[in-house]
Each structure stands twice: as C-alpha cells, then as structure tokens.
C-alpha cells in the first residue's frame, strides 16, 4: 500500500531531491577495503547523519538511497557478502513487530537491529525485575523496575540509530493486537504464555501476516513459522480444551542460552521471509534440545 501511494504521489520536487541526495552520497562516499582485499564504496556513520540532517530525511532513507546507488553503509558491509545489496535494502524497508521484550524479545531486537531491519514495533507492558537478569539481554542492574520497551528503544538507538522503533508500553490482548501489528511484514512471537500466543496467531492470520513462533523452557526451545493458512499452534492447543497458561518453564526456569538460541532462529526465519529466500519452517515444530545439541522436527497435521 505504502509503495503504491509513494509512487503515485511522488512529486517532481522529490525526484530532484533524490538526485541531490544521490549527488551528496557520491561526494561523501569513501573507498573502503574489505578483509578480502576487495575495494568498495562506503558510507560512514557520520556521513549518514550529515546527509540526513542536510536533507531533513531519516538516516534509514539515506541508507536506502546509498544502497540504491551501490554505496554500502560501512556498518552493513559484513552483511552484504551473504545477503547482497538488494537484500540489505529489502531489510531496511521492512517492518517487523516484536511482541514481548523479555528473554526472546531482547535478543530478537538486538539481532534485528544489527541485521539492519529498518522498522520495528516493540510491544511489552512489563518492567524489569531482578530475576530477569539471568537471561534478558535488555535487562541490566541499572534498569530494574524500568520499562522493557524503553530499554529496547535505547538499545536499538545505541546499536543502529537508523532503525525506526515504535514502542508500545502495553500487554497484548484481543482488544489492541490489530493496532500493533497492522502494516508489519512479519510478526515475531516473543511472548511468555500460551493463551496470548493464540490471540496473536489469530490476529496474524486475520491480517494475513506471517508469524514466527518461539518458546523456551530450561535447555529446550521450539520454533515454527506460521503462515496465515497454517494451523500453527492450533495443532497443539485446541481452544475448546483447557489451554495451560504456561508450560514446563514455570518449574525449570530458563537459563539464557536457550532464548538466545531460539531468538537467533526466529530472526533467521524473519529474514528468510523478508528476503524470500530459503524455506520457512512451516507445519513442523522444530524442537531444540540445546544441551544435547539435538534438533528434531515434529510434523504437525495440516488438516483441521
């Protein structure tokens, strides 16, 4: 939709401005040498900021314009060999919702920012507690009792200030879920309980959005990408049966290794979806027994 609007209403003035931005990028780009010896045209953090200020546009827009002219923001150079300039551009244009900014969410947010996913919506109504310190990347001794989403915004700003973060200090529910995820390209489930996950899945299905599910307990984690037509968690939890609010994690806790492991898998799925590469893990629950280094797949029936 945005793309259609942009192309239809883009006035000539903007086209001229685009030309000026391109010119400025070419003036300020500099030759960089990669470890391979390859020389490329790079754009430094400082130059990105300067151009954004000069043209009153966002840093993200400067970076997209640079990549469109085969100039690489230096911070993304080590991504380019794997995902290419078009891939980096797609990530910068993408918008990902992260529901939950705890153990999974903290790591997911960190990785999305470093991948250069350009827009993020972060939703969590919670504040940090001392017992979050063992696993939640965003939690520090200094921000106990402070908002998780505020920490997320701060952290992303420190890692990659070109990323535009919209934060919602709220717990997700049926009444507000649509307003958080509408317009996103991918939704990441970093929640900590099963009933709310089912609300999220229902909304993602209704709004035709891919959802990347992750959950952890002890040294066990699971991962699955759920496309709108998939049964997803519906294959495991039936609304007419008693749905446990939580799983075994209430007894065995969650050491940091597991959420970090699963969060990386979730971001990989999101990147695959945005870049349309690889094969998303659908209709299969990928089950990680991290201690044994064992990965299994539990196929789920696609029949209702």
């Amino acid at each position: 939709m945005n793309r259609i609007l942009n192309s239809r209403f883009k006035p000539i003035v903007v086209n001229n401005m685009n030309k000026d931005i391109r010119k400025r990028i070419n003036e300020l780009k500099r030759k960089e040498e990669a470890p391979s010896g390859e020389v490329y045209q790079g754009l430094s953090l400082q130059v990105i900021e300067t151009i954004a200020r000069e043209f009153q546009i966002s840093k993200r827009e400067v970076e997209i314009a640079a990549l469109e002219n085969e100039v690489i923001p230096i911070k993304y150079h080590r991504n380019i060999g794997t995902i290419g300039i078009p891939g980096q551009r797609k990530l910068l244009k993408a918008k990902v919702a992260v529901i939950g900014a705890g153990g999974l969410g903290g790591s997911v947010i960190e990785l999305l920012a470093r991948m250069g996913v350009g827009r993020m919506v972060v939703v969590d109504g919670d504040t940090f507690a001392e017992d979050n310190l063992n696993r939640q990347l965003l939690c520090t001794e200094k921000n106990i009792r402070k908002s998780k989403v505020t920490a997320a915004v701060g952290r992303v700003g420190e890692i990659n200030s070109a990323v535009e973060v919209t934060s919602h200090q709220a717990f997700l529910g049926a009444e507000n879920v649509d307003s958080f995820i509408t317009g996103c390209d991918v939704v990441i489930d970093a929640l900590d309980n099963i009933p709310v996950r089912l609300i999220l899945q229902e909304a993602a299905r209704r709004l035709n959005l891919p959802l990347v599910h992750g959950a952890v307990a002890g040294f066990i984690g699971e991962l699955m990408t759920i496309f709108p037509g998939d049964r997803g968690l519906g294959a495991l939890f039936k609304p007419d049966q008693d749905i446990p609010p939580t799983g075994i994690e209430t007894e065995i806790g969650t050491p940091t290794i597991t959420p970090t492991f699963i969060a990386a898998g979730q971001v990989m799925e999101a990147v695959k979806i945005i870049l349309r590469r690889g094969k998303p893990i659908r209709n299969r629950l990928r089950y990680f027994e991290v201690e044994e280094g064992k990965i299994s797949e539990i196929s789920l029936s696609t029949q209702p």
Binding site: D192, A215, I248, E289, I298, L300
Partner: protein, 69 residues
C-alpha cells in the same frame, strides 16, 4: 521422545510392540513414563488425549509444551 522423556528410552526414536487397542496411557505404563501436568502427545501428527487407542504403525511423539519467552 524429547527433553525430560528421553530418560525413559535409549533412543529418542524407537519401535514398541503393543497389544492392539492399547491406549496412549497403556503405552506410557509400558515405557514407565509417569503422567505429568506438562505433557503433550501427538499421534500421527495430531494431538490426542491419554485414552486415545493406538493402531499398528502409529507414530507417537511425547514431549512437554513450553511457553516461556
């Protein structure tokens, strides 16, 4: 069998001989797997209850639902 249930078997994937009509609960008794609050059983990719009768060739997955984040 996955996670905590691994200790009830040498391998996480194996064949078991049962009498026809044995339920999931009967299979668990045979394998000495205790019934737990956090437990999920899939037979041929479908979630079932403990009284579900098993047939020759059924594929059974026993694991724990997890919900942490």
């Amino acid at each position: 069998m996955y996670g905590i249930f691994r200790k009830y078997a040498k391998e996480n994937k194996f064949k078991v001989e049962i009498d026809p009509g044995t339920s999931v609960e009967g299979l668990m008794r045979k394998l000495k797997i205790p019934k737990m609050i956090y437990m999920m059983v899939l037979v041929n990719q479908l979630k079932v209850q403990f009284d579900h009768p098993l047939s020759p060739g059924d594929e059974v997955h026993i694991f724990q639902p997890i919900g942490g984040g």
